[in-house]
Every structure is written in structure tokens, then in C-alpha cells.
Subunit: 302 residues, 2 copies
């Protein structure tokens, strides 16, 4: 095994040991052995693979676009979600985390409308400009540099043990696919998220005016991964209440505890129920402070 | 290379040569080189990977179920699609091939209704019983034995050249996933088809009362594969008018010409437009009679 496979950014301790033990038990002959075909792992993205504070990075991307739309059409200022954006009413957007149907519907419609008619190449180019030019407020670096190195090591470790690793996030599928291969080492087809619908017309793929399949949060996560992969995950990772159903659907679940305000952020807001559920069900809790000797960084892949 | 990689069931000739040349040109340095990440291949199933005459095998599976439903509730006899089934009105079902929206809507609703509330395990078990017990009328063997050996060789050949191979069929996604891994050597997550929607409730995945995303035919094929994989295919294979858009969306396209009534079937019905388009656009036409020395059979996989 290479050093990457031994999870060098993870401190020795119960979390790392639980992961190593689980992977060993499922990939060597014995009562817990899992057939290669069934080795599916699924990770949430925001707060699980990269920092989600002060807000999930995609909101930064989307808010800039919505800001331009309001400038072009001031009548939008009285309409949600533009109103909440202008009034910096972050409680409105927090409705996503509580899975409030009205908020979700409003946001989904606005997301779809904003990019309807665009081609994938146009959308990708817009995401790339954002990735390269916009900086995260606390650390003053591009958001993409705030990916958790220990989780990238975990992904490679799982792949080395013939797990097929999926990302299953409330974030936009096509947004994540723009950087998935380079950043996570995961092919686009293994990225599941809240999805745009597409039309194929005049030999081109173009975004439709509506999304397809609902927001990929809560029960939507196991629904989406089952629809996409035909299986529920053996191993799942998350960090928030919207991940509970995904974590419950797996055999082994880990949950990131954001407890390091110096190196990252310290918060439990939006994760209260998942932390309680982790205790109840014996999920592996990963403390950013105690379990990770390095928080951010890219890894080398063979 | 093993003998499988050299397509032993394919006769030497322009079709085999075109496939070998295309794969060589895209996987060795040069102007046509395709990055590994972009190497997506997509095949239709009915008539492309297995025989679809006298009717697509899944109809046999579905008709048996619908027959039981009419027996249990005779009032269905006057309602489509049950009426067409009882009257052996195959022209009604051919409406799928012509992409008639009313027929498609009727069929999708009936498919969804028939298995709503069932779990994947229940559905899989039902498909397995059908696979093992029902025989195809012309050859008197289970339908699953009527898979084209040359196409299985082609799938392995592409995989050996780091193509990721998807099936993109009008047939039911979950129906195909039941046998995809054993029969095609393709993981469930690479099977795209007409899709059931699911709900995750009480810790279980259960079929919803409606489908998700429309029938996977015509423009739906490139739309579905783009949604699923984030890319259009580099290589595509099909055999019918409902495959035209998929074939147009690829760089290299092949189309199966069913011209061997002794060893398989001879027909052009439902493929008239695709044969014309193949000539126009220079697609590779594969003659079952001339290009395949063996039609049916499974292969050994390493």
C-alpha cells in the first residue's frame, strides 16, 4: 500500500481505526465480506468534502448570478429568492436545511430559470471563472482549495479496495461535475446531486426550464443514489441533518463533527439531529480537531 | 490482447475494421485521441444487444403481469393498454417505436402502476423467475440466451481500451439491471433506461406510483445519458429509429442490420429512417448475416 492508502492526514484514533477495520472486514474473506459489485460508497459534499461556512460555496456562485439578474430586472427585488438575497436574509436560505418544501420549491425554480437554455459548455465556463476568481471570505483562497485532504485520502483508499465512490449532495450535479474529476478523482457519472433537466435539440444538449427529480437532500439522497446506481451505499459519509437518511441507508456511516474554529469552523447548527442519531446508531464521528492532522489540501493520485 | 479483445465472433470485413480502426485512433496518440475521461460508449439494448423479435422481451414479462391484473379485475379489459393486449393489437404497442406521446403516456402509467409499492428485491425476484422459466417462441430458449455474442465481445474490447460502457435503452432500467452484471459485464450504475421513481420510507426503497424522466427513446437517449454521465457518447450502437438521436450524438456510430432470418430475424420495420440516416452520415452498418460468424452466446470474462 502507498502512504495515501494509509490515510496520512488522519491521526491514529477511534475514527481512523473504525474506517480501517470496516474496510478490512468487508474486503477480506469472512462474515462481513462484501462482493465487489456491492461496494458502493457515497459522500455528501458541503461540510463533508469541503467547507460549507459561512455558506455552501455554490450559494456564492448562484448569488452572484441572481445579483446580476436583479440588476437587469429590478422588479425581481420583491420576489423570492431575490428578496432574501438583497435583504441578506440568510434564514430564508436555511430553509433548505430544514427541508421546508416551499423554500425548496422556490429555490429549485429559480435555479432552473437562471440557467435555462444554456449549454453544458457555457455553464462549465461560468463555474470555472467563479472557481478561479472568487475567494472564500475567512481564508481568502478559492473555495476549491478548501477541500478536506483527509477525505480525498479516504476516497482513494476506498477506490484502492474496489469501492466505487459516489458523491451524493444537495448541491447542483452539474456544478460539482465541473471540478469532480480533477478535485475528487471521481468521474462525472459518479456525481449525484440536485439535477437540471436537459433537452436534446438541433444536435445539442441544452438546459430545460425545470429541474428533474427534486432536491438531493433528506430521503432524496438514498432515493437518488438507488436510482442512479441500483444499490444503496455500504459506506456513507455526511455531516448534517439532511444527510441522516443517506447515513441510515448504509452499513457503515461516518459523520464529520465541525469542532475546529482555528483551522476550519466550529458549529453544530443544522447538524443537531444527525449528531444525536450518530450516538444512537453508533456512527463513527470524525472530529476535525482531533482526527485530522491536516484539514485542507489536494493529494497526488497515481 | 486476449482473443476476446480481437472480436472473434466478427468476420473480417468493413464493419469490424471500422470498429478496430476507430478504437485504435482514439486510444493511441494522434489527432483523434480521446482522453480516458471522455471515453464513453452507449448501446441500445433491444435489437442491439439481444433479439427484439417477435417483440422486445420485456413486453413478454410485462404482458404476463398485465394478464394477471385483468384476470383479477375484468373491468380493465376495456382500458388501454389492457385492451390492446387482450385483442393482440400489436399495432398499439408499436406506437412506442413511432414515439406517439399518447401511447407512451398510457404505457408509462401502466408500467408504474403495476409495480408501485414493490421493493427492488421483489421486482428482481419476479424478473429472475421470468428469465429462468419463459422461453422465446422462435428459438425455444430463455430470452437471456439470445444475447449477441459479438456485442458482448465488443463491450469487453471497449472496456479493455478504457471505455466506460453504458446501456441506454427504452426498456426498463431496473428490469435490465437485474441481469446487467452477469450478462453484459456492466455494473448496474451504467445501465440507463426508462426509470421508475422511488421513495425512501421506513428505511426501505419502494417504487413510487409514477416514473421519472420519460421514456428513454429518441431525443430522450442523449438527454438521459448526458444527465447520467455528464457526457455524450464517443461511440454509440443502435438498430432502430428510436436510436437516431443517440447515434447522431456520438462520434462513431454503428447500426445493426437485421438481415439473417435463419440465425436470427430479418426485418427493417421500425428502422427505415435509421438505415437512411446511416447512409447519409456514414455510420457503420453491421450485417448480422455477413459480419457475425456467431450470433448468440455468452463469453468468458477475466
Amino acid at each position: 500500500m502507498t502512504s495515501v492508502e494509509l490515510l496520512p492526514s488522519w491521526n491514529d484514533g477511534p475514527a481512523k481505526q473504525a474506517v480501517l477495520d470496516f474496510v478490512a472486514s468487508t474486503t477480506t474473506p469472512g462474515p462481513s465480506f462484501v462482493e465487489v459489485a456491492d461496494r458502493i460508497a457515497a459522500f455528501d459534499n458541503d461540510g463533508t468534502l469541503w467547507s460549507e461556512r459561512p455558506l455552501a460555496p455554490q450559494f456564492d456562485f448562484v448569488f452572484r448570478r441572481w445579483g446580476e439578474e436583479v440588476k437587469a430586472d429590478p422588479s425581481l427585488a420583491g420576489v423570492q429568492p431575490y428578496k432574501a438575497l438583497l435583504e441578506k436574509d440568510m434564514a430564508f436560505f436555511a430553509g433548505v436545511g430544514t427541508q421546508d418544501p416551499a423554500t425548496i420549491d422556490t429555490l429549485l425554480k429559480a435555479f432552473s430559470r437562471s440557467w435555462a437554455g444554456s449549454t453544458p459548455a457555457e455553464f462549465d465556463a461560468e463555474v470555472r471563472v467563479w472557481l478561479e476568481t472568487v475567494k472564500q471570505p475567512k481564508f481568502d483562497v478559492p473555495y476549491i482549495e478548501l477541500v478536506y485532504k483527509p477525505m480525498l485520502e479516504l476516497i482513494e483508499y476506498l477506490k484502492a479496495h474496489e469501492f466505487r465512490v459516489f458523491v451524493c449532495s444537495g448541491g447542483g450535479r452539474d456544478f460539482m461535475r465541473t471540478f469532480a474529476e480533477e478535485t475528487w478523482g471521481i468521474y462525472k457519472e459518479n456525481v449525484i446531486g440536485t439535477a437540471a433537466d436537459y433537452r436534446y435539440t438541433d444536435g445539442r444538449i441544452v438546459r430545460a426550464e425545470a429541474g428533474l427529480g427534486g432536491l438531493d437532500i433528506g430521503p432524496g439522497k438514498p432515493e437518488h443514489i438507488f436510482a442512479h446506481a441500483g444499490r444503496l451505499p455500504v459506506l456513507a459519509g455526511g455531516n448534517a441533518d439532511v444527510d441522516i437518511e443517506l447515513l441510515e441507508s448504509a452499513t457503515f456511516s461516518l459523520i464529520i463533527d465541525h469542532d475546529d474554529d482555528d483551522r476550519e469552523f466550529a458549529y453544530t447548527s443544522g447538524a443537531e439531529a444527525s449528531i444525536a442519531r450518530a450516538k444512537e446508531l453508533g456512527w463513527t464521528v470524525v472530529s476535525v480537531k482531533k482526527d485530522w492532522n491536516t484539514v485542507y489540501g489536494q493529494i497526488e493520485r497515481s
